[in-house]
Subunit: 330 residues, 2 copies
């Protein structure tokens, strides 16, 4: 099934969306919000699935046209956002561009940081940033949302805890990253916002493209109308989602609604382009000595989407612009 949250208060209003993303129906009689559905997922998911089937066959009288412009993030605020760097080829490239060696452990021990989850952006929301000089970049990623995961779970056990799959734009402020990484405490100011695809879907929607731990489809990133990348998310993913979840749960439980991200999708050789500007700039640095592609400017538009084998959009499209933010005067 496909689920979305329409903008309404702090947590949105849960709707079920048709497979072709054209129609939606209120799900409030089952659960008012996606988090409340996840809180009792075993019962809510069965009822939501039934409503989804009725919506797809046209049996729901109260359905309405689905408009991504009215979407908040599926979880407008969440309790846990763990973002990996699962495509180690991306990390290797970034290091190579600055002449640094990749520690061998990076191929066996997942890199994960804790991201800000208290205010996710909707698919068509502007991204408010104060300063262009911070080096504004997008990162196109795949995410999964779990139910309750017990501490110490193995990767083999983790797959059944993946309840929903979606896309994000993990907005990154590249020029703030070196200072924060040098302090070793992880990203904070350099990872301000994360934007979500209009809908999240249950793994069964993905058919053979979902193997239980990876999503085998190209992830398309389009900047100001130009396709800049379409690497396959199922290729060169060093740590699949089950490995990432197991890593996150090594020393504690994960609560239902935990969002786990893949990090920037990236394929060895970059023949299908890149899912962030940093990677393009690294390739330019390696080949020509310096980057020629600038970071994003105010007004720039980024679109992120995944099409299935029939060319149909799976999650709807992240389609947003960078907007200048001005803090209130003292």
């Amino acid at each position: 099934m496909k689920l979305a949250s329409l903008k309404s208060g702090r947590d949105g209003r849960l709707v079920v969306v048709s497979r072709d993303l054209t129609r939606a129906v209120e799900a409030s009689s089952i659960a008012p919000t996606l988090q409340s559905a996840l809180d009792c997922w075993s019962t809510a998911s069965a009822e939501l699935t039934l409503l989804y089937e009725q919506l797809n066959t046209g049996e729901v009288a109260a359905s309405f046209a689905f408009d991504p412009a009215h979407c908040d993030a599926p979880l407008p605020r969440a309790y846990h956002w763990a973002d990996g760097s699962a495509y180690v080829t991306h990390v290797e490239l970034v290091r190579k561009a600055r002449g640094a060696e990749l520690p061998g452990s990076f191929w066996s021990d997942p890199l994960i940081y804790m991201g800000a989850s208290d205010a996710f952006l909707g698919a068509m929301d502007d991204v408010p940033i104060e300063n262009e000089s911070w080096g504004i970049d997008f990162e196109a990623e795949v995410i999964v949302i779990t139910d309750d995961v017990p501490a110490g779970i193995s990767p083999e056990q983790a797959s059944r805890h993946i309840q929903l799959v979606g896309l994000v734009n993990d907005v990154s402020l590249r020029n703030l990253i070196p200072g924060e990484l040098a302090k070793q405490f992880g990203f904070y100011q350099s990872k301000p916002w994360t934007s979500f695809s209009p809908v999240v879907v249950t793994p069964d929607e993905l058919g053979e493209a979902w193997d239980g731990s990876k999503l085998h489809l190209p992830l398309r990133a389009t900047l100001n109308g130009n396709l800049v990348g379409a690497p396959n998310a199922g290729v060169d993913m060093t740590f699949d989602f089950c490995r990432l979840i197991s890593h996150c749960a090594k020393s504690r439980d994960l609560m239902t609604g935990t969002v786990v991200g893949s990090g920037t999708v990236s394929n060895v050789g970059n023949q299908h382009g890149s899912c962030c500007l940093a990677e393009i700039r690294c390739l330019e640095t390696i080949s020509g000595g310096e980057p020629t592609t600038p970071f994003m400017s105010f007004g720039d538009r980024i679109e992120i989407e995944m099409l299935d084998q029939h060319g149909q959009s799976v999650f709807g499209k992240i389609d947003q612009r960078i907007a200048q933010y001005t803090p209130a005067a003292d």
Copy 2:
């Protein structure tokens, strides 16, 4: 006023607690949970304050004995947990013990990491840990909880966004930290659980001990019945809470219910002991070449409390034991 959440479902049940921590009254007619109260704080806080005044003067018929054993964390799950290392003297000591220099910027640029907020522990909950060899430690800290904070706020503006103050035990797995810090992505597996004082209080409860940005009272940490530290939280706090909030909000808004922590309270010279074992072990290493105090073992008891100038407990006591956790078999 003083507020607590009794154990009930995923978000607890909000109660107002009397100033002397002996009585409580349900606040569900005002807001069912603390997060729901924070979501409409300007109206809810006025109603809760009125109920608090009535409770203190004995005008509430439906009050009952307050029992910290029934307390969940005031926010059993939260959307944002930003933990600082505001007492730089602590960071300096840790570095000195391992022969590393402290970067000069650490005195002017706050260290903050994003912590796991999806499952906080109650004041008397056991702390479940799988493996003693991970190096189990406590960290006694002061925290504040904010309302909505706009991006780009100055430290001067930040004080009025501090709505509640409390204590935490930021459980740390010391032997997992070096590997995680070396990866530069921050703490993840090494910071599994955070336990909260039974109650959180509004700043006006703290009288002259609260100066708008710091709490000037000793924080007492007692391990297996022995007082190991009582440094003053208002002394040697390099970055006060207003600086920490301003740092957190540099590039994005903070949503209501954001928890901001001080990091381990520590005073220069450590004449009043330490609020974590790592610091004690560092002092031993500096004076004797190696640490002699072990990390915590299963069954060890840690108590964390703050007394006011009259010897009364302000927040109630964190009083918990380390418990061995065994993951379910595959």
